[in-house]
Amino acid sequence: MKRPTNATVQLGAALTALALLGLAAPAAAQELRIGASISLTGTYAKPGKYTQEGYLLCEKDINDKGGLLGKKVKFVVYDDKSEPPTAIKLYEKLITEDKVELVMGPYSSPVTNAASTVSEKYKKLMMASLAATTSIWERGYKYLFMTISPAEVYLEGLVELAVERGLKTIAVINEDTLFSKAAASGTIELAKKKGMQVVFHEAYPKGTTDFTPILIKIKSLNPDVIAAGSYFDDAVATTRQMKELDINPKMYGVTVGGDLPEFYQLLGKTAEFVYGSSQWESHLPYPGIKEFVESYTKMWNREPAYHAAAAYGACQVFAEAIKRANSIDSDKLREELLKLKMTTAFGDYAVDERGFQIAHKMVLHQWQNGKKVTVWPANVADGKPAFPTPPWNAR
């Protein structure tokens, strides 16, 4: 007997593979596939990875409890390289070629903004987990739901605490970029609504290093509160220069940057009493948060950041809506998601008629003795705010 040639072996292998594929096809019907593009490379690689890890932990938890609608859940994830145009292509592929049953959002506002144009076109409901820009929900889309708090409420806690303590005047500064601008205008609106007087507002270009001119103008007005819509570098620089110029508001808060450990490393004691805000902290008393932190730490060998918690929470909300609708039909899911009010490991979920998040609360923390102490809202706080912030020469 002739030995099979290489070609026959290859043919045989190909046929076997085909047969296996054929076998795999009906198995796929037993799965609910959730498609998503995530930034695994590029600018957003790090938070993108956290997002994916949150999704995968959610997948595992759902499947451990018997899946959804009697099927196993499986995430189909592609790398969008942190580029909105790539995300558009990938969602197009997920929906039309892969024909995934469900889709969830990518990481970041710009990418979600782009990707949701595709899901909306195909009337595929997208559960967006990590987009915070209000304008995305002002386009009249029907099939897009939000999970995290919008930029405008980042400093809600600072204003609330200031009003509670009878403070009257506030100065607001912000970096002249999309997110910081929204954070500042939200703060101003909130402060006005609560009866505070906004005595100063000025934006500065990205990359500003010398804040002396802005800060001495603020100093001459002597406001009770200074609020900064900032990223990291500018938050550090303003804090440092406030000390140098001996500016002493009774409260001083920043948006992003203030919650990173590097903020304290760079500033040391100068960071004491500074307020900062964040979407989520691992010690908050939300149901299931302990289990989430434990299983996340076990699965990925590090503590979860808020991105992972938001992705996980969004996925849990989505699963609940699917259960209640007993369907994966976008219109039925939409109805359930509009009605749904629930609390996950990430906190509260409820949306208005646009699908815009209205229940999730930011938390405000303050640096006290080198630790981030959550001081607002009161029902989740693990400490009291140290108030008022003492003048620099008395520290």
Binding site: D176, T209, K217, D233, K243, L245, E262
Partner: protein, 291 residues
């Protein structure tokens, strides 16, 4: 509520503008030197600054070395990096049309920044903190800025002395004035290019070490300073080192005053209007001429 601007406020802004300007000047000096001698527009200058800052960060993080002392390490390290890059790549675009050097150094900066991102991640790193200020009358003088200003001044002065008093320095100036004649007079122009590019990178590194004490260290930190440096050397006159120094101080003060009297958003507008005016009225730069 209306802000009432007082004389003290103006003085305060001028002082802090001068302090910031000293740093701009130091960083711009390296860029100006390289352009003056080699006619190479070095977009990778900010990347060298970033690498210098990382040298300071790691020495501080691993060995606890004082960040100001680490300039003694970051400058030679980046001098070597600059010299190697010159020997391998940059010599190909010396005296070539300026677009070639733009493209080449842009490529170098992308590669180096991404390597830094791969090796050290995009995380913010931070070096020792030194906060607070000396108060003189009603004027606050930031401690870290004052120290970095003085350091920048010393380094600039050393570079100046080097260029004027040493044989190599004189050769660098000669090459900058006329390449061919310098070569005819027996100056090894290739070697001068090597030293100059290394020196340029070293000066950027010194700037990086100083910046790292005040701001976070991360792979893209250098960009801001490149743009400012271009502004500074056009203001002062390309290839004119005292001019770069003067341009740096001027830019710092103008930015501060624009921010004080107008708004911070308009600082760049004012800085670039100044640039256009200088180009229109005094295209050779405020101090003009070479060296």
């Amino acid at each position: 509520m209306q802000v009432h601007i007082t004389g003290t406020m103006v003085l305060q802004v001028v002082v802090s503008g001068l302090l910031v300007g000293g740093l701009y000047a130091l960083v711009a000096l390296g860029l100006s030197l390289v352009f003056g001698v080699m006619r190479v527009i070095n977009v990778a200058h900010g990347t060298f600054l970033m690498l210098g800052a990382y040298v300071t960060f790691w020495l501080f993080d691993l060995y606890g070395l004082n960040p100001f002392l680490s300039i003694l390490v970051s400058v030679p390290v980046l001098f070597a990096v600059g010299a190697v890059l010159q020997r391998l790549l940059v010599f190909r675009v010396v005296n070539a049309p300026e677009l070639s050097s733009l493209l080449l150094t842009f490529g170098i900066s992308i590669v180096l920044a991404n390597m830094a991102m791969l090796a050290w991640t995009a995380d913010y790193r931070s070096v020792e903190f030194l906060t607070g200020s000396f108060v003189i009358g009603q004027i606050a003088v930031s401690k870290p800025r004052l120290i970095s200003f003085v350091t920048a001044l010393v380094i600039t002065a050393l570079a100046f002395v080097f260029l004027h008093k040493t044989r190599t320095g004189k050769a660098i100036r000669a090459t900058s004035q006329h390449r061919e004649v310098a070569q005819v007079c027996g100056i090894n122009v290739g070697r001068i290019d090597l030293v100059t590019f290394g020196l340029g990178a070293g000066l950027a590194a010194a700037g990086g070490s100083l910046v790292s004490v005040m701001f976070a260290v991360y792979p893209e930190m250098g960009q801001v300073y490149v743009f400012k440096s271009f502004l500074v050397i056009v203001l002062g006159g390309a290839g004119n080192y005292p001019g770069a120094f003067f341009g740096g101080l001027l830019l710092g003060v103008v930015e501060g005053l624009a921010s004080l009297f107008l708004t911070a958003q308009l600082t760049e507008v004012v800085a670039y209007i100044l640039l256009v005016l200088v180009l229109l009225l005094r295209p050779q730069g405020l101090l003009g001429g070479r060296i």
